[in-house]
Subunit: 473 residues, 3 copies
């Protein structure tokens, strides 16, 4: 039995709540099958006969929904759907877990969009059937990332070693965050080119550095090097093709990367609703429009142009007929990509497709230990599913521990991170009460506590309420 | 030809606007087929190929809708749907009859939820295709009752002789009313255990007594007998397994029933929207929460727990993993039950399933005579379909007569009952004008009028306007 | 190869944004196939297997939508739908062209209703797949016209020579406008019988006269002739069965037409929303109700009654059981008609059906030259798709030229017409600047300019800004 067969078999019955739910090999097998579907759609037209997909959209998203629904129908499956369900009983006081258990007994697969971050994870835990996240607030939209990877791989023949410029709103766009992480995993170089005030948030950059094993070069260094100002990038992230060299000469390597131009421009929409808040500040030149002029500049001669759509003004209509403009093709490829994913999760794929470049190594993101102590710390993200009144009743706060000085916790559901200011050690419970001490998270005492013994508190008051006293400062 | 075959054949083309549309034998055949579907779903996957169900939801109800739609798709059928159609032309000035005639020419089956009570009956009268009521205001939701009966029968092996406690909001919940009537028909004992202020309405209790031939024992009697206060029931309804004995010793029998515990707790949701109106009054102890503690009490050791969902607080999350908690299974069984019903109404059932316990007697509710005189009385229910401006134009007021002293009328559409205060006799038309008399409904003169001659008026004024004078008092 | 085969082959891949997109032969082939579908629906049940229709309703229209969706399902096809999408990304800032290109890559066919007039034309231009207009504002609803023609032909055996009275609201009802044009094309006589204040707009009457080659007789003449006032028509439009005779005796012919009664009454809804604005003025007798009494009058003895539904009060419920009342049958025939159209556009029709009356001549509406100069004139219709902010960015103003004195332009998208007041000649560009003159549109100078040289301006200012000076007056 080939390894691809094992990988494919392992996908049946699984959920896809976030990109990191799948290993690189698993993602590669989905992309490889998508290429098959794209070439020979007819061969898949009866693959999901008798299966039902529940399309649950708690937020409007016609484009993504139609793409998923088309995919299911093209596999011979069927649909039940609940759209804009904010007002119905599914939302009224009922928990996501109850909803998941009920719908999980009707359908064979759930595709869900929901405003709460981490909602798809919870539904996946309770539904008993595969769940695909079609967007959970500002958190993840992993099938968009699959489509992006597919288009890049399809147009450029590979992912490893590609140079991709992320363009425009890198602050709010969940699609660029997921894509940056995925590109890092596959060994691509990511160039950040935000509009003024739309830089990628620190937690995204820090996760790139912490979790994916590559090298982050900040823009201030790059800008000095960039004589012509052609590509005034904010940051650049490189994954190790030859790690040793990188470690030696990161800034030089970075400049070499930039000098070769980019393989793709990944443009994102200027979010008008947010612009109005800062209208006085935003000048047209602050938001980089991709137009005919830009595409003639050095470094972009062979860049393909992608966009998750809908676009507004950031992508000029004049380049629609340029052969490098692939955003409509990219949108269309959402159907075969989702067909591949659905058929694999439902265990209905009629064949096993070996990725053209082989399976590669089965790289996974760094696996952080679960923080198992209930010390009262809470996820700071108010849109997190674990902070919603209906869900609080049954959903525990849950974190993974990012070891370091200071240590951080990352929410299990929504991936928000937090640096608890106060730290103690679980070993203290073996000590007499008066010797139980807590310390500032950044102190040397804190650094000495072994990760498995860390007790984190949101404040001194909380630590003291739990029976600890201030340590030596 | 077996009798079950005849029963099944008789269901093709029929509508299911209320539970009493079907005889016991018919309900039994639906439940028997549902059991078949549940065991071997694949055998039914092409049964309704080429058929279209119109899913018309004039009120939001995601759960019920998804259950119906899943059922139709699992039979190989297809869907067209109109959801939240309040704003469209289907609702704007157009009559239900016109809508029914148009959609009846498109689809093969209509499933409808509508806020007007009796709406499904009207649509069934005009559509020319089978119509299933998926909820008409506070009136009926007969497929929920089918699902409840199915789960009870499936888990307990029978319906006759079961003891079922109806729990929680027995005042507003249409599901418990329909279920109580159906249980009465199948010879189960119904125990009413409402929250404070949520007792079953008088008209429900009175219909149980009038129409279903059993024995109603009021709670005041039972409470005295109930030393421990374990089950402070409000009322208890028993159908005659040995009718003579019951007639002789009702209260003793009642106590014997209670002493044996209940086979099932049927819990209903505390309607939060109504609670706020009476917040000052409702104490937590007033609404009986079903939790681990309750399930340990005497009489509940082997009670299964059912709930039509969604739940709020009345059903503790802590019992979800208790093997007696069957509410999610109950929700899932909505699909095979509706598959059975749909395939029978469409005449598509591939087989005839003899009920495991045999067909039983073909018991039907008491059939009351239609009140045929147009004496101006109107249904008192303002949510009744016959009282809506658009429907008034073509829909006559229509009643059945509940014979008694005083006589009552029950609305043909919404089942609301009324006791017209003034009564005359149709024979008076043979008398000289000055001898045409009317009487108070509760007078001995009224009692002497034969039912077929009764003329009912909403007031003395109305009777006098119709040419009658006050009778001897 | 037969001619019908060629016609049918030519329909594959086409769009149907307006009735005039199809020649008479093409319309006849759709109607002929619809008759086949109507007779033997089962033969078409797998014809569109594997095809997906995107049902995009940017305005509520349950009836039309259900009819289209039923049609697609009855052909074995599948649906994705977006209903009431005003609030989603499809509408938010995105152009129709982008939406069309994206959805065109998902589905095989688009059915769209949209409030902007001409929207379906734009979507048809960009989608790359067939597009059917299911209503674009007050502009067209061409499949309703197909259904109307089908019912008339089916019930009367032909279209040519029929006398059809259009009844009720002839001002706002787009269905009657399209129907009038189509009837003119097929050689029927159209009798206009509006409610007071609901006469057909001048542009509809003028288009009948300009484009369809028949004879328009105004009502003032007819009213004098109509002794009994039986049919106080507003206008009458006759297409030439024997053109010479008509030209000689139009008024006499008109009277002869009326004397023979009408073959069909086509009744339209009184638009209540508009009535309230003019409530004080509208008396019941102003809006002609079609009831039992009317149907007994001379000239209506054998008239069938049609209505696009929903009806309100203009069509009495008392005639529902009259055998001449065919409006429900007409609604039902929407399904086979749309099945025929869909299968032809998708190139899936399993057979070629020769129209019973033969193909007839391949009559098309008069083809007006495109006005190719960009002289700044704009469509005056604010609901026109070309005047919407999102569409302005890429959609040029575009017109056809209606040659005459004065010449008019008709919007390419929404068919609104305009008489530009100022005219010059393109030949002027060969003249010295000081000799470039403009003229009033109705002047004899204007009449002398050859159509291909006409330059039209919305005002003198505009003409002068373009370098022209006032001509000799």
């Amino acid at each position: 039995m080939s390894s691809a067969e094992e990988v494919v078999r392992g996908l049946a019955g699984r959920s896809f709540a976030g990109v990191d739910d799948f290993s690189n090999q698993e993602l590669s097998c989905v992309l490889a099958l998508a290429a098959e579907v794209s070439k020979d759609r007819a061969a898949f037209s009866e693959v999901c006969r008798g299966k039902i997909m529940a399309s649950l959209f708690f937020e409007a998203s016609t484009r993504t929904r139609l793409s998923f629904e088309t995919a299911m129908l093209r596999l011979g499956g069927q649909l039940v759907s609940a759209i804009d369900v904010g007002a119905t009983s599914l939302a009224k006081g009922e928990t996501l877990a109850d909803m998941a258990r009920v719908v999980g007994g009707y359908a064979d697969l759930i595709v869900m969009r929901h405003p709460w971050e981490g909602a798809a994870r919870v539904v996946a835990d309770y539904a008993g059937i595969p769940v695909i996240n079609a967007g959970d607030g500002g958190h993840e939209h992993p099938t968009q990332t699959l489509c992006d990877l597919f288009t890049l791989q399809h147009e450029r023949g590979r992912l490893q070693g590609l140079r991709i410029a992320l363009w425009g709103d890198l602050k709010y766009g969940r699609t660029v965050h997921s894509l940056a992480f995925a590109l890092a995993r596959f060994g691509a170089t990511v160039v950040f080119r935000p509009g003024v005030g739309f830089a990628a948030p620190e937690h995204v950059l820090s996760k790139l550095a912490t979790d994916y094993g590559g090298e982050l070069v900040r823009g201030d260094v790059l800008l000095q090097a960039d004589g012509e100002g052609v590509l005034p990038v904010d940051a650049l992230y490189m994954t190790p093709r030859s790690p040793h060299q990188l470690a030696m000469l990161p800034h030089l390597s970075a400049q070499l990367e930039l000098d070769q131009g980019v393989d793709a421009l990944y443009v994102t929409r200027l979010q008008k609703e947010r612009m109005q808040a800062q209208k006085g500040d935003l000048r047209p030149e602050d938001y980089p429009v991709v137009d005919r002029k830009l595409l003639r500049r050095k470094g972009f001669e062979r860049s393909i142009v992608l966009h998750p759509l809908p676009r507004v003004d950031e992508l000029s209509l004049e380049i629609d007929s340029d052969p490098r403009s692939l955003y409509f093709k990219q949108a269309h490829q959402g159907v075969p990509v989702r067909m591949a994913l659905i058929s694999l999760l439902l265990g209905c794929s009629p064949r096993v497709t070996e990725p053209a470049e082989g399976l590669g190594d089965d790289w996974r993101p760094v696996s952080h230990p679960v923080y198992t102590h209930d010390t009262g710390i809470r996820c700071p993200n108010e849109r997190c599913v674990a902070n919603q009144p209906s869900e609080l009743r049954y959903l525990p706060q849950k974190f993974v521990l990012i070891v370091g000085t200071p240590p951080r916790v990352r929410c299990w559901y929504c991936d928000h991170e937090m640096e608890p200011p106060v730290i103690a050690t679980a070993e203290a419970y073996d000590e007499p009460t008066h010797r139980r001490k807590y310390h500032p998270a950044r102190s040397r005492w804190a650094a000495a506590i072994r990760p498995e013994n860390l007790l984190l508190s949101a404040s001194s008051e909380e630590a003291e309420a739990a029976g600890f006293r201030p340590g030596v400062v």
